[in-house]
């Protein structure tokens, strides 16, 4: 890639993302291009498609839930063009790796609400929790169990009792108990895979700085 173009790109991204150093942003961009290049050469200037991204989420960040990985993709893909471009990539990773509590809070909420009306609805919760009980006996009983679980979750988080969770609800509940950040399923990488990824991605910088 052209060194000049890269520099300019780094400059422009670093204006909006301040949790990474410029050299780190450069590394991330390199990785992006590597992945995209290997994926589909023709779409190189468009970005990561959903499948490629899911492979990354799975293999690097250890995520397993298909539904949630799709949602994470959409949360990364701010302009909704079904591709993650390089800016979205760096921005998303900044939340993943270095995100403050507020950023992560927002990110998780975005992952969990679906239809864009700014609320997590009861049905949506049901969908997300569908697989959360180990199948003991097939059929109704599990179904009933999940319904009750949804009730429990709503009782816990729906402060204004409107049967859905608004961002204010979510923020309040999570602030009260951090454990509720990923309440409807894991959508952030755990600390270990973050460290591993950083070590891998920034190894060039680390060695060169000495």
């Amino acid at each position: 890639m052209d060194q000049k173009v890269l520099k300019r790109l780094v400059e422009s991204i670093s204006k909006s993302v301040n949790s990474f150093k410029k050299s780190e942003i450069e590394c991330l961009i390199r990785i992006f291009h590597n992945v995209v290049g290997r994926g589909d050469v023709k779409l190189a200037n468009v970005g990561l498609d959903r499948n490629t991204f899911r492979v990354i989420l799975h293999s690097i960040f250890g995520m397993t839930d298909d539904v949630l990985m799709n949602r994470v993709f959409f949360a990364f893909d701010k302009d909704n063009d079904n591709y993650i471009n390089v800016k979205e990539w760096v921005k998303g990773l900044s939340v993943f790796l270095r995100g403050t509590f507020e950023e992560k809070l927002k990110f998780c909420f975005e992952v969990y609400y679906f239809n864009g009306d700014g609320y997590i609805s009861r049905e949506r919760i049901y969908d997300m929790l569908k697989n959360s009980l180990h199948q003991q006996s097939p059929g109704e009983e599990t179904d009933e169990g999940i319904r009750e679980l949804v009730d429990i979750a709503l009782k816990k988080m729906d402060y204004d009792n409107d049967g859905r969770i608004s961002f204010a609800d979510f923020e309040k509940a999570v602030k009260e108990d951090r454990l509720l950040l990923e309440v409807f399923g894991p959508c952030l990488p755990d600390a270990k895979s973050c460290l591993d990824f950083e070590a891998l991605a920034f190894q060039h910088i680390l060695t060169s700085s000495f």
Binding site: L133, V183, D190
Partner: protein, 1044 residues
Amino acid sequence: MGVALTRSAQWTAAGHGAKTLEVTPLNEAIVKEIIMFVESFIYKYPQEANYVFVEPLEWKTNLDPSAFGSGYAVSGTTVKSEEADKNGEPLLYLSVPQIKIRSFGQLSRMLYIAKNMKLKEAQACIEANRNPVAKILGLDYNIISEKIGNSFVSNILDKITKDDDSESEIKMKIALQLKQLDLHLLNHSLKHISLEIRLNPGTVKNDIELLKQFSGKGKQTVLESIEYTSDYEFSNGCRAPPWRQIKGEICYVLVKPHDAETLCVTCSKEGVFLNGGKTDDEGQINYERKGEIYKDLVTLLKEKSAIFSENMSKQEIKFSEQPQKDQPNEAPKEEVAITHKASVTSRKSTQEKNRINLGRSQLTKRLEPSLNWRTSVSSKDRNTLRDTQVEKHGGKLEKSRSSVSPGRAQLIRKSVEKIEEIISDSSSESEEDEEQPDHRQEANADLPSEYWQIQKLVKYLKGGNQTATVIALCSMKDFNLAQETCQLAIRDVGGLEVLINLLETDEVKCKIGSLKILKEISHNPQIRRNIVDLGGLPVMVNILDSPHKSLKCLAAETIANVAKFRRARRVVRRHGGITKLVALLDCGKHSGEPAQSSLYETRDVEVARCGALALWSCSKSYANKEAIRKAGGIPLLARLLKTSHENMLIPVVGTLQECASEENYRAAIKAERIIENLVKNLNSENEQLQEHCAMAIYQCAEDEETRDLVRLHGGLKPLASLLNNTDNKERLAAVTGAIWKCSISKENVTKFREYKAIETLVGLLTDQPEEVLVNVVGALGECCQEHENRVIIRRCGGIQPLVNLLVGINQALLVNVTKAVGACAVEPESMMIIDRLDGVRLLWSLLKNPHPDVKASAAWALCPCIQNAKDAGEMVRSFVGGLELVVNLLKSDNKEVLASVCAVITNIAKDQENLAVITDHGVVPLLSKLANTNNDKLRRHLAETISRCCMWGRNRVAFGEHKAVAPLVRYLKSNDTNVHRATAQALYQLSEDADNCVTMHENGAVKLLLDMVGSPDEELQEAAAGCISNIRRLALAIEKARYS
């Protein structure tokens, strides 16, 4: 029948859906009775046998259609009886596997056909038809039959005579028959219950202990091995986990007979049976019953192992204990029967209650009715049994300790435990919560709604993935976990196991959530025990290594809560917890880096704080104190002490204060310059912190250098000013304690006088709890060593309250009070006040106190009193029996008591008349007997007394006769000049008698005395010279006699 079935039959708690009858001897007997009734019905009441039931009895049968012969139409899988009702419906209809029967006649026949399947069929029938009476006679007759039970027979008869409808007459007869059966069954089951073997922890334990003695390798033994699956024994004697104890289970044993595989046996109240054995992983036991119930372990083993039964009979003779054990066994058994009869009424009432409960709420269905009353009754039995036992057998049982009486055995065991506890207790375990009986929520009581909600959440913890688990954990945290109902509910629905299991997963969030809950509920002493029993501590100890700081914190905090009792502390230590906790203290090492955000730093501090908190709990055991020291905890604690975070300082100082009871620590505390920081924190605003600092100083100030350090760092002033705040008694006790120990140094006393602390202390002599009084009086006792302070105390009116305290019973307090009063008595003016308040008599009566320290201290205090009292001789004589008491104290074997009593006698003997009296009481032989001692203090006072007592009659000669002279000569070889002086004086007095001079000379006294003459001590010089001159004079006289 209905009543008997609902009340007596033991239904399993199968949870949802149909219940089944438990296979117990009682149920079997009931079913057999019913079979007999039905079978004979057709012969006894042929007419009634044709009566058609209102509703058919319907159940799933195992009978094969082909078994039905004549009288039945068999076609493939269906069978119809040829007998039919008015409408042509067959009275028996079988369509595999459902069977419907509508008359007693058909029932009888069915049972006949069933042959050896009778029992199963009858049981299936009863299980499927929970209210047979209603089905047979219709609902209204069910009610009538209840009335019969209430013996309104006349009513019924009326009804029959009025109603000449033949069918209702038959119905009535059947109703009466059923009623009779019902009564019969009830009686029968009662008989059965009273005969039923009820094992209790005591019997089981005895059996197992006995078998253990005869187990081992070799052919002679009965078993290869027998051992419990759990080492821990609950205070009620059971070893089964609490939630199994509800089911009546006592313990589980692994038995390895010579000729069979290892058997895993459950001992329960109902008897002994094989269970599902240990599942391989985790050592969990499969509690399901796998075999028949035997009446005891020996019977079971006899059945399972041929060698056991063979060797058992061989060893019968050797079992010397067995007959002994069996005999007392007889008596309680009889009494069991008696008490059972006696408690029938009470049992009935509980049954009644159960039934009502059952009817009222569908939810209680899960609770097994029969078990409920069983547990309540058995505890009742135990009580009544114990009472009667104690009454009837009295002392007899004391001897036969192997007696099986449960109450008794438990008592003995408890007291033994107590003693052990006392012995192994370290000094400072005041907060120790007693091993209290595990009281569960009364199963009969209405369960609060939280119970069911928590049960539901626990279900999600068990069956959910990480997401569901986290939601359930967060929701559980919303309950009021400080409330006992919720704490116990979590345990009772099996939540503790799940929470602890979660700690072993890799999911950080689950661990955090679980620990947050455990941290809260572990405030409950019962839960603590349960957590330890479930093996929660080792897991938490492992978590201390986690890289997650919040996880470490939570684990340490939970350990801090759980380790409030000794067993838990031991577990923490054994699993290396102390080292890990000490490692947590090592925070802030890297805090030098400026780039680190302050957030990280506070996290580090928090980790250290939690570590200190856990160490504080753990430090209440001696071995843990050592472990903390060895793990290098003291320097770390010293470093943390330099911080200014109050909530950090409290656990740190708390730990130090706890540990300061050990000499090693006190030395280290001095070496690490901890005193300085303790003093600094005395000035803190936090009362708890002040208290612990004062307490730590109190512990450490036994050491002189430490006392000086406290003064040098300016600690005396804050201590003195803290005296003015008397609301917080704990703190006051700690502060006064610190003042007491500090005032052992004269310089400190001077400072305290400057700060007007002595006046304040006098003010604290009234209306304070004993812990405070002990310290206040101790401090005053130290202060009284100086004239100036004695004056202050007298002027502030301190003598009266001090004398008033002489009537107390607290031993530590009495020791201090007597010392203080004695110190005051040195002042003649004060002595007058003491005398006026009758203080001397009070001191004198303390000579009768059972505790030697009090005796000695009282005796020492009496010395200045007798010295300074006006007309002391008369005063002493006025105490009736007082002199005899003092002389008899010379028979004590406590050196301090002896020395102090000698000192008292020295003072008493100054009065000639009193000397005469004590001589009559035989003081000379008693003193002579004490002469052979190496204790310098005793030597000195003994010698003084002897020299004083020589002044009367022929006592000098008597001492010689009782061989007191030779040992006295040896005292001169001691290193103590006080002993030398007293001895020389005594020898001088004794040398007035010629025989004594000879003895002294023989024992080489002259040379020793010649050395003493060169002493700078004038009294000693004089006495030694006098003695030598007496000896010399005698020698001259002898020489003169020889030559003339």
